[in-house]
């Protein structure tokens, strides 16, 4: 019941806010209902840390002909709890900070949508079986599709939104495939014991959903709801995928499949490098959000590939919590800018900070070329964060008095949660970690900062002077190599192949459906029979 209570509170609140908005719109009451539901859910999730692992069986298909495999259950364990807490924290922070965004996209309908998205997100991160996860993913995706298509005011993003949904659908089908192969091999199984190749397929499913295997960026610009509810909408499916990564067995790939590991790690590193460099030069944090997600997701996925799925959690937390701190920090109030810098401390990877336990995931079996590249990516991510964090804000006077109180509470809540998670979020969270890698990364960051100053570039704008040669070269080169990095050529080739086969099939159809169709039918039958008998089937 402990697992279901937060979901129940959120759904009831969603219904209440929706009905209230329909019947008698009251901004304040809707806000209070949303906050109350969020706080109750947050407290229950915090309390449930004392009762881990907790499981609840929802229902089963329960028929002998379905082999008793169809069980739907929820599981709150050391892997899902941090994500559940992070999600509800982001939601609560969104509602608190939304109080200061009344002139933007802060609306009761958006809260109702966020309430249901978070409820489904909790369902997804607490999925106890692959079947539950598939169901939750389908629900989250359909809801996201519906919200994105119905809330936007122009048609220009429709195609991108649907393609993004198509990618999500493909990830669900990979989960389907993994489950199917897992059942074929073992019967019923849970994630931690996923047999080969089911474990590897699950990893691919999560990677595809996160946009890292292969790199895919459906939204080059955010379609609607950029802040607030938009942040919840963006991060909930990500959290659901990251939970799957954290739950996978350490040996998701068999040792003899080393070439697969090298290939996928290479793709992930490529994605991370591209995303980090785009994050660094992004116009603002919202435009860079998808790159932020991709870079940290690559770190989490590499951790699983290296056989340390537990280490994907700190990278996941770095993605969700400090990211939300930045994305929800609007309007920028100069006196509270320091909160963002505290947020940066949480993902610098220093010993005894939340991300300290993540380095072991990047190292895996040893220090390789990939590790060096990923350390550089880490540095770029920190630098990008600093650039966005150090941008000047406005004076607090632009806010109403009550907004001045509530707005920072939302941000502080995120920081508090990061500290809580850093201490006991997951086994081994409060650790020295691989301190020398952290040291290396932070030295790199410091060096970059010093060099930037020497070249006359100072935060908050890590932009090269417009008349510098490097700037001219990069301006010419970047647009040309970007399509290569974004792997759009792969999708172009796939589309051409699809078109080619489509044409062949159409010719085939016109032959069979034409005047001589029956004769072709008989001929094909004769050919098939001769092929089959020739193949030894008598």
């Amino acid at each position: 019941m402990l697992i279901l209570a937060p979901i129940g509170f959120l759904l009831i609140a969603c219904l209440a806010v929706f009905i209230l908005d329909l019947v008698h719109p009251r901004y304040g009451t809707s806000w209070l209902i949303t906050v109350t539901a969020g706080i109750l859910a947050w407290m229950i999730i915090i309390f449930s840390r004392l009762r881990l692992p907790t499981t609840v069986a929802l229902f089963s298909w329960d028929h002998p002909s379905l082999n008793q495999v169809g069980k739907l259950s929820l599981l709150l364990d050391y892997q899902s709890w941090p994500y559940a807490l992070a999600l509800i924290t982001v939601f609560l922070a969104m509602v608190f900070t939304d109080a200061a965004r009344t002139h933007f996209d802060s609306r009761p309908r958006a809260w109702a949508a966020s309430l249901v998205i978070i409820a489904l997100g909790l369902l997804a991160v607490q999925s106890g079986t692959s079947l539950t996860m598939m169901t939750a993913w389908v629900l989250v995706d359909l809801l996201e599709l519906f919200l994105l298509l119905s809330l936007q005011e122009t048609t220009q993003f429709n195609q991108r939104i649907i393609i993004a949904y198509g990618v999500r659908l493909a990830s669900i089908l990979l989960l389907f495939l993994g489950t199917m192969l897992g059942w074929a091999a073992n019967g019923n199984f849970d994630f931690a014991q996923a047999p080969y190749p089911a474990g590897f397929i699950f990893l691919m499913a999560a990677g595809l959903r996160l946009g890292v295997i292969p790199l895919n960026l459906p939204f080059l610009r955010e379609p609607v709801l950029r802040r607030g509810a938009g942040n919840v909408l963006r991060l909930t499916p990500v959290a659901a995928s990251l939970t799957l990564l954290a739950r996978l067995p350490g040996e998701a790939l068999l040792p003899e499949a080393g070439y697969w590991k090298t290939l996928v790690t290479g793709l992930l590193t490529l994605a991370a490098i591209y995303a980090a460099s785009r994050w660094l030069v992004a116009v603002n944090e919202i435009e860079g959000r998808q790159y932020w997600i991709i870079a940290w997701s690559s770190f989490a996925t590499v951790s699983v590939l290296n056989g340390v799925p537990q280490s994907s959690i700190p990278w996941g937390m770095a993605l969700i919590l400090p990211g939300s701190l930045l994305f929800l920090y609007y309007p920028r109030i100069q006196p509270t800018n320091f909160l963002l810098l505290i947020g940066a401390l949480c993902f610098l990877g220093l010993p005894f900070t939340p991300v300290a336990s993540g380095w072991s995931g990047l190292l895996g079996g040893g220090f390789t070329l990939w590790t060096i590249l990923l350390i550089i990516v880490h540095g770029l991510m920190v630098l990008g964060y600093l650039e966005h964090a150090l941008k000047p804000g406005v004076e607090a006077g632009v806010l109403e008095p009550w907004e001045r109180v509530v707005f920072p509470i939302g941000l502080i809540l995120i920081l508090q949660t990061m500290i809580i998670l850093g201490f006991f979020g997951w086994p081994g969270a409060f650790t020295l970690g691989v301190w020398w890698v952290a040291l290396l990364s932070n030295i790199l960051i410091l060096t970059a900062l010093i060099l930037a100053r020497r070249f006359g570039i100072s935060p908050p704008y890590f932009q090269l002077p417009a008349n510098s040669t490097i700037k001219k070269v990069s301006d010419w080169l970047l647009p040309r190599i970007e399509p290569v990095f974004r792997l759009e050529w792969v999708y172009w080739v796939a589309w051409k192949l699809y078109y080619f086969f489509g044409q062949i099939l159409k010719v085939f159809s016109s032959i069979f459906e034409g005047e001589g169709g029956i004769l072709w039918t008989v001929l094909t039958l004769a050919l098939l029979i001769s092929l089959l008998t020739g193949g030894g089937v008598n």
């Binding site: 429709n158 649907i162 659908l169 495939l177 192969l181 074929a184 099939l505 169709g517 072709w520």
Partner: protein, 471 residues
């Protein structure tokens, strides 16, 4: 008072069909008569006690299982009644939507006759006469599938031709098989009779390369009519096919036959799926999707040794719901966008007919096996069983299903594609509640089936008790 099961479920529907023909001009009356009788027959078959004695107050009606008819006997045992209930229930479902614009007047009587003929085929003795009854159903169906297009169209001729060619194959196979039981296993006659039988069923079920009539007919017929026909005929044929498996031990025990059936099933899934993915016309895509479903049925039969027949039977209700929703939404879309509905003509439809568009997408996704929707539980279990036999069987089958998902995404893209000069997302909803209420109900039902399959799919499996060797 004494009645017989064939009298109730074969003769009475024929009489109702005649009444419907006579009242065809009064559409509402005809609709009420057809629906009341059809659902009544379905409920009676579902709730009739196993002893076949019906007590209504002082009146006790004893129902016999057989009826002699022109020297032949039709026997509908109580174990077969769940199937009868299902056939009439689904016919009733389609009849409910028979008042849609441009559904032929002949649809109501014809659908009743087809269902009655297939019901008779379930229990006719000698059982080979079922082939004649199926042929009757085919012949009767011709006027309704030619209805909107008065001119000759070759799809119907091909349908009629191939289905009629199938009948002698089945009859010859039956004739050959009468002597097979006494033959030694190495006799070539066994293989020859299996090939003839296989060819007959392959033609009936529109297995590649005998499939060409399916997209041709689907393209030109009314969606309600076509979806009904392509649901009810294969269902009847597949259940009839169980007779052969039940009667002839060599068919049940031959590993090679099951291998071929499995392979054919996977080939149909892949062919149908890939063909669906590249279609432009919605009705043709539906036709190819039906080939995928036939493939799943064959795959299930091929896995009979591991419970495949259960899954084949469990797929029937889900398929019925999916096909019905597909037929209904396509029929409604036709009234908005004309008879030839392609991906190009429905651009921006989601902003004018959102429920219809959602219904069509959901029908497609349900048939494809999207988690949460009706056919998912059975398909994932079936595919995992196939994968346990051979991983490539499972993977290729899923690959075939991908085609349906891909077409769904293309459909979605078209529905939301802005028409020319349409930059703003302006919603001009043109739907009325009575039009989309059935879609909402069906969406809920599809999800309920997907989440609680054990609660809904069990009844039909009981018909296997009528086939003692197949349990």
């Amino acid at each position: 008072m004494t009645l017989s099961t064939p009298l109730i479920w074969v003769i009475v529907p024929m009489v109702v069909a005649v009444v419907c023909t006579l009242t065809a001009e009064r559409r509402q009356l005809s609709l009420i008569i057809a629906c009341v009788f059809t659902f009544g027959l379905a409920l009676l078959a579902a709730y009739l006690p196993q002893e076949l004695i019906l007590s209504l107050g002082p009146l006790t009606i004893s129902i016999e299982e057989s009826l002699n008819f022109f020297g032949r006997k039709i026997t509908l045992v109580s174990a077969m009644l769940p199937m009868v209930a299902f056939l009439y229930g689904t016919t009733g479902l389609w009849l409910l939507s028979s008042n849609l614009q441009s559904v032929p007047k002949s649809f109501r009587p014809t659908s009743l006759i087809i269902t009655a003929a297939l019901t008779a085929a379930l229990g006719v003795e000698p059982f080979l006469y079922a082939a004649l009854l199926i042929e009757t159903a085919v012949l009767v169906s011709v006027p309704m599938i030619t209805f909107p297009v008065k001119s000759e169209h070759s799809g119907v001729l091909r349908y009629l031709g191939l289905m009629t060619i199938a009948m002698p194959f089945i009859l010859i196979a039956g004739w050959l098989l009468t002597g097979v039981v006494t033959l030694p296993p190495e006799s070539p006659l066994i293989g020859q009779s299996a090939v003839v039988l296989g060819l007959g069923f392959a033609i009936w079920l529109a297995v590649f390369p005998f499939h060409s009539w399916v997209p041709m007919v689907s393209e030109h017929s009314h969606p309600t009519v076509f979806s009904f026909l392509l649901f009810i005929l294969p269902t009847g044929i597949l259940v009839f096919g169980l007779n052969f498996l039940n009667r002839y031990g060599f068919l049940r025990t031959s590993e090679a036959i099951f291998n071929i059936i499995r392979l054919t099933g996977v080939m149909m899934i892949v062919f149908g799926g890939v063909s669906t993915a590249v279609q432009e016309e919605l009705k043709r895509a539906f036709g190819f999707s039906i080939l995928v479903e036939t493939g799943y049925s064959l795959l299930a039969i091929g896995l009979a040794a591991s419970g495949g027949l259960h899954w084949m039977l469990m797929m029937f209700p889900v398929r019925a719901l999916g096909y019905w929703l597909w037929g209904y939404t396509l029929a409604r879309l036709e009234t908005h966008y004309g008879a030839s509905i392609g991906l190009g003509t429905i651009q921006g439809a989601a902003r004018r007919t959102p429920w219809l568009s959602s219904g069509l997408i959901l029908a497609q996704l349900s048939i494809a096996g999207l988690p949460l929707l009706a056919s998912f539980p059975i398909k994932i279990v079936l595919l995992s069983q196939a994968a346990s036999e051979s991983i490539s069987l499972g993977v290729w089958s899923l690959f075939g299903s991908l085609g349906l998902f891909l077409f769904s995404i293309r459909l979605l893209l078209s529905f939301y594609h802005p028409s020319e000069n349409e930059n703003d997302q302006i919603w001009h909803v043109q739907e009325k509640l009575p039009h989309y209420a059935p879609i909402i109900i069906m969406m809920v039902v599809l999800m309920a089936f997907g989440l609680f399959p054990g609660k809904f799919f069990t009844g039909l499996i009981d018909i296997l008790t009528a086939f003692p060797h197949l349990q």
